[in-house]
Symmetry: C2
DNA sequence: TAGTGGTCTAGACCACTAG
DNA sequence: TAGTGGTCTAGACCACTAG
């Protein structure tokens, strides 16, 4: 049950939208008419409308009114944490390499480096019952002032590694996910037959100013990587209740 | 530049959090002290704090204060629309089957059906330059009252099909994504060699009352499916500015 | 010109926290 | 007991929309 007036406003309008009484594109009652309906003031009505806006149910157009959104069925929340997937199966994670190298052309492009700037490489291999199942390689711009702590690196996710080194609160992470047949280095480390399906997850990290601060790929033996995502639509408003 | 007082509050506090001046877990200044600092009233300060809360920067504890959140690097936004991926490559989408069947045990379980309730099957195959690359199969509970319009089904996403049939505003969609080697039926339709890597995307749809209203899988030839996701963290608040 | 949403004021009362 | 955030009131002025 709604314990406050604004919750009542939210529940009533949300239910009307979900039942199709209010359809996408249609105008909802104006703030002043809602004030009368609920015998309350504008600020209270607006608190409810703000929650409906946050939840993706309505949007407002100054001077005109508030309208029901087109539902967005495409937006999903993907909870991706490389270490969760690794920990789920791994009994051992081996640090293959932590090094400072001169960047390749690809790295200069991806991390937008100056030509003489060094990069840190981190390569890890995770085993499940002696079978290697995840191989990952990460690059980040080298910064003399910031030491690399191996114990941290071994068990941290990429955003954690970068955020720790750069003391960033928010690191933007762009994921690209695809499938490929194992070949070359991947076969060597993951000990698969040639052509074995791999799930590849590429991560590109950016700081607040959109500067690349990390780039890496994780190769999972296909059978070890299941990803889960949920449409974010209904979820967004629930935090509040 | 901030054109309103509450935007100024948001920008100042957000910048302090991003620079590490305010660290996760620390308390931010109280509402009353922010009122003094910005020479404004509580409702205006609270509007700014509401946006910071929405953006995942702070949370409040009644009686105690407002605190800086631990950043959540795991939450990503995945924009997944099966038809976008299909349209990107397809020059033809063939409706293989639209049928009403008696459910298998698996279907009864997945869709929580009563034993005698029929289900609708929809199977499609998409071609890129005569090469089949996406095979998908969808099931939804059969409802006598709701006709199945083939022209719609051929080009609609699963949530669209279900939402249209059930006049639902919000359908919850649970995605599971994994990799498998092509075998059996998949080889037959996608005309791949055995063991070819496939990206499998399973969709399970629920109505407002968490009742399953659709279940299906899409099999992509691996090379045709790249998924993109972005950490949602910084994005959430930007809508407002 | 009447109606709309956006911003803001200056209060009130409440439950809760922690010394 | 002083301080905190949560809810709510009853206004004000504004820019904008559309007849």
């Amino acid at each position: 049950m709604a314990s406050t007036i604004y919750e009542q406003v939210v529940e009533d309008i949300r239910s009307k939208i979900n039942k199709g009484i209010l359809k996408p594109g249609e105008m909802i009652p104006s703030e002043s008419s809602l004030c009368k309906e609920y015998n309350t003031t504008r600020m209270t009505v607006r608190k409810g409308l703000a929650l409906l806006t946050e939840g993706g149910y309505i949007y407002s157009v100054p001077g005109k009114g508030s309208f029901v959104c087109e539902p967005d069925h495409n937006r999903h929340i993907l909870h991706f944490n490389e270490m969760d997937i690794i920990k789920e199966h791994a009994d051992r994670t081996q640090l293959l390499e932590v090094n400072i190298i001169s960047p390749t052309e690809e790295l200069i492009k991806q991390l937008q480096l100056k030509r003489k700037q060094k990069t840190v490489v981190i390569r890890r291999l995770s085993y499940s019952q002696r079978e290697p199942f995840a191989y990952d390689i990460k690059y980040l711009p080298y910064d003399k002032g910031k030491p690399i702590v191996e114990e941290v690196i071994q068990y941290a996710t990429f955003p954690e590694i970068v955020a720790a080194r750069m003391s960033l609160f928010s690191v933007k992470n762009e994921l690209t996910i695809w499938v490929k047949k194992a070949q070359g280095e991947e076969i060597k480390f993951l000990k698969t037959e040639e052509g074995h399906p791999l799930m590849v997850i590429e991560q590109k990290l950016f700081d607040d100013g959109n500067k690349p601060v990390g780039w890496g790929k994780i190769y999972f033996r296909g059978e070890y990587c299941h990803l889960h995502a949920v449409s974010s639509f209904n979820d967004r408003i629930k935090r509040t209740f």
